[in-house]
Symmetry: C2
Subunit: 190 residues, 2 copies
């Protein structure tokens, strides 16, 4: 018998993060997460393949937002295309997700295996974006450079978004970081 548990996914994510923070990622079991959320292990596994997936769920949707931005941008300027993609991706991180993202980062920073997983995710994003840019007619080098630059802006902007005391929305931060990249690269200080 499969029962529908309203909000089960969010309860499991909140419970998992709380346990990971208190006991470490390795020190936490799926059984403990499920119990802390008042749910069964079976319910856990209906939502996540394993405990690591609690931290990395949504990768497809995340990449899809970047790709949609690249495909839909009504410009051929690569920086403007990346700006549209970043705007789209920012929608994945509304402000009510910021404190969860902060806690998630603490858990990831404490575990080299999770750091590697996060890097692999961002590297996969760069590869996916490179493909989308090539389909828009950029050559291999230009597409790779624009994609890597977009990911770099996202990484720097995301770290700023979850920094203590920061309260600007992610979209605004990403726009500011992209503008700073342009100013850094294009305005020689001699």
């Amino acid at each position: 018998m499969v029962r529908w548990e309203p909000g089960a996914r969010e309860r499991l994510q909140a419970a998992a993060l709380e346990r990971f923070g208190a006991r470490g990622f390795d020190g936490t079991t799926v059984a403990e997460i499920a119990a802390a959320a008042g749910l069964t292990e079976r319910t856990f596994f209906r939502h996540f393949a394993d405990k690591r997936e609690v931290l990395f769920a949504g990768q497809d949707e995340f990449e899809r937002l970047f790709v949609a931005g690249i495909e839909e941008a009504e410009t051929t300027d690569p920086v403007a295309i990346i700006a549209v993609a970043l705007d789209g991706a920012a929608a994945f991180f509304p402000d009510d997700r910021r404190s969860w993202s902060r806690m998630r980062q603490v858990v990831i920073d404490a575990d080299p295996g999770l750091q590697e997983r996060e890097l692999l995710k961002l590297s996969g994003l760069a590869t996916t974006m490179t493909g989308a840019l090539r389909r828009r007619g950029f050559d291999a080098t230009a597409a790779a450079l624009a994609a890597e630059s977009g990911v770099a802006v996202f990484r720097v902007g995301f770290a700023t978004w979850i920094a203590e005391g920061e309260d600007r929305p992610l979209a605004a931060i990403l726009r500011a970081v992209l503008a700073e990249l342009r100013s850094l690269v294009c305005a020689p200080r001699t």
Copy 2:
């Protein structure tokens, strides 16, 4: 009794790569690598902590070249500083290393664990470069962006350097890729 084996390190690296290519990374033991090089396991472990280190040895020297470039560049233009750092790092990959680097990439591309290790290495490089740029007076965001851009140029340029049929030296490729980044970011096509 410790014997000095001239060229032992290079023989071990060549033998390891040949075995990894033929049998896969997981399918190769240190004993086999040592035997293929005509050396003992004890000699292997004088040169490398484990078989993975054969593929990743030299990280400290590699990072040191980037940092030295950042420290020594006689300019305050961030792109020019990155250019000096990339020039310095290119010295780590002379042309007679290209075929070894090509084979190494094939081995890494075939193994997710090695890919993660490679990403962690490049992420560490970006962090180290960010630190060096901050010591040169760039603020946190500018330093991180310049470092990430430098690593992106290195990644794209290195992939070009080891591509089949490519024969330009790495330093020349990195200069061309950096110029392309500048042109991409600074020359709107509307």
